[in-house]
Subunit: 363 residues, 2 copies
Amino acid sequence: MATARLDLAIGGRTCPVLVGDGLAGRLGELLRDQLGADRALVAMDRAVASLHGRRIRRGFRGSGVRVLGWVEVPRGEGAKSLARARALYRAFLEAGVDRWTPVVVVGGGVTGDVVGYAASTFMRGVPVVQVPTTVLAQVDSSVGGKTGVNLDRVKNLIGSFHQPRLVVSDPEFLATLSARDYRAGLVEAVKVAITLRPDLLERMEANLPSLLAREPGLLAGVVAACVAAKGELAARDEKDEDVRGILNYGHTVGHALEASRLGRLRHGEAVAVGMNAAAWVGERLGVASEEVGRRQNRLLTRLGLKLTAPDADKNVIVRNLKLDKKVRAKRNRFVLTLQIGGASVWPHISDRVLRDAVRVVTS
Amino acid sequence: MATARLDLAIGGRTCPVLVGDGLAGRLGELLRDQLGADRALVAMDRAVASLHGRRIRRGFRGSGVRVLGWVEVPRGEGAKSLARARALYRAFLEAGVDRWTPVVVVGGGVTGDVVGYAASTFMRGVPVVQVPTTVLAQVDSSVGGKTGVNLDRVKNLIGSFHQPRLVVSDPEFLATLSARDYRAGLVEAVKVAITLRPDLLERMEANLPSLLAREPGLLAGVVAACVAAKGELAARDEKDEDVRGILNYGHTVGHALEASRLGRLRHGEAVAVGMNAAAWVGERLGVASEEVGRRQNRLLTRLGLKLTAPDADKNVIVRNLKLDKKVRAKRNRFVLTLQIGGASVWPHISDRVLRDAVRVVTS
């Protein structure tokens, strides 16, 4: 399979995103060719290291890029902490990372977020290379430059905007994901399809068996389409002050639900429920086509995702909603998809409608 | 005295810097007029709060700007810690700070650095208004957007670039500084004069008695000249990859000395010694005019500053130099002033010359 390349121009710099089978075994060469690097530090998700570590290490041998240090990061939302960021700072310092040394992050969304955050604040920011190993990270979190850690159970309360210098997406990683992680990761692709890309939605609907079979060519196409769509919004609005907010579709209720069941729900599983809530709000307000909820929920269901969370505590969710970063002076900003491919950020929906939506998806 | 206004265009946004007597008593009105704010959080240096707190608070009454919280920050380099940043995050969260709520920082360099850092990483960055209360902060650290905290005795190892939305410099604050703090703060102004502004150097030399008497009109002029010079470099090179490095004149040895005597030397006192070292290096390499060292050292001496630090441990200083953020792949970048107003960043000076310079200024 050929390598696809997208050049995202965000925040005054161009970030190449390479998508292709086997790229993760050639990281040394890619760092040298794309960034002119002769040294790097590699931070890996611990579980990824045990599955793919040898291949990653081999990809630096004879490349002319010296790896100053190998750091392993534990898995799970708990790793997204200020304490973990501090441990990373110390590892960077000990390894001799300087302002020009790329930090290569190999892992999923959690690893990318916490290592990206540490790298963005170490010496006021060192270069980051993202090597996403999950569907979630490949279609969404590895591009756009958002980093973050949690504080006091508030998700991503602390973070930064720090664009990676290079993203290397290798579909081979996706073959070793659990079925649950794989399906949950596809939710972000469904989100992009529903809010921005009718053609991607059709492609996913038409190729469901291949998608579930993790067919590498199809996956690479889905990843590239999502990266292009997200890159376009991030280029227009890096700091998430405007149109980039569309990518939060399903995330208002999704984040609040996820925080209420920390560690028990995958991010994508919570967002699937949140997308159901968002579609419900659109219909309830009479502004969204019924096609949105119907096709979105049908595809999510066929992918094996649940649309409701009957075990969740709706009072906790409603309380969490008040801490949402999108809440501005007590107004609830909310993303609605009016028709397939046509989403926008609404400045306010009432507390009552929000509460009703939470009730609908928790019963 | 009239208010001077400079508009610094850095990082894609314009930051107004207002300099004038009495401005700190009108913060509410300034926030409303300049930023359209209707709410804010105020973080103050504890000692400043006890001296100027009433005036600051009065300046919000009837302004239409509601203060969500008043936070006090202890004084001293020890406050520049990740633990302090975390305490600030919690205070912001409790007060209800959202992405659009300005955090107003009233204090010197330490307060500006740590509160600026916390604000830059809270919700991926909230607006910051700097109200610098020391000479150091007014002429230097409040503009340009650098924030930072220390880790494991390495100064500013963790930090960010986060431009303030507004800077309000009121010379009235400078009247209550100790003689030692006042004189140490002027070192950064001498640095700007020597490296970039011959006219400022002449003005300081010609008006020494008024300068030492803290004459407000003269001070406002010195502050404005330094802000303009720094703003120009930061506009060309926000991320300190190139010409902005000139502002590190005297800071290579200065920082290493300061870290070796943490809490016992003022930043400016260490930088004065570092400037002496830098001038010595320039002469030793035969590239700098002898006028640089002569006029610089004469003015520093007349301001009451010491040019050497005989009590410092030169081995500790040399060790600290290796941790300098300017060191790239073991090459010692170093700022030299070749003639008054003409400084540049040298890609490398030898370890031996650096060590000799440290020996000269510690004996």
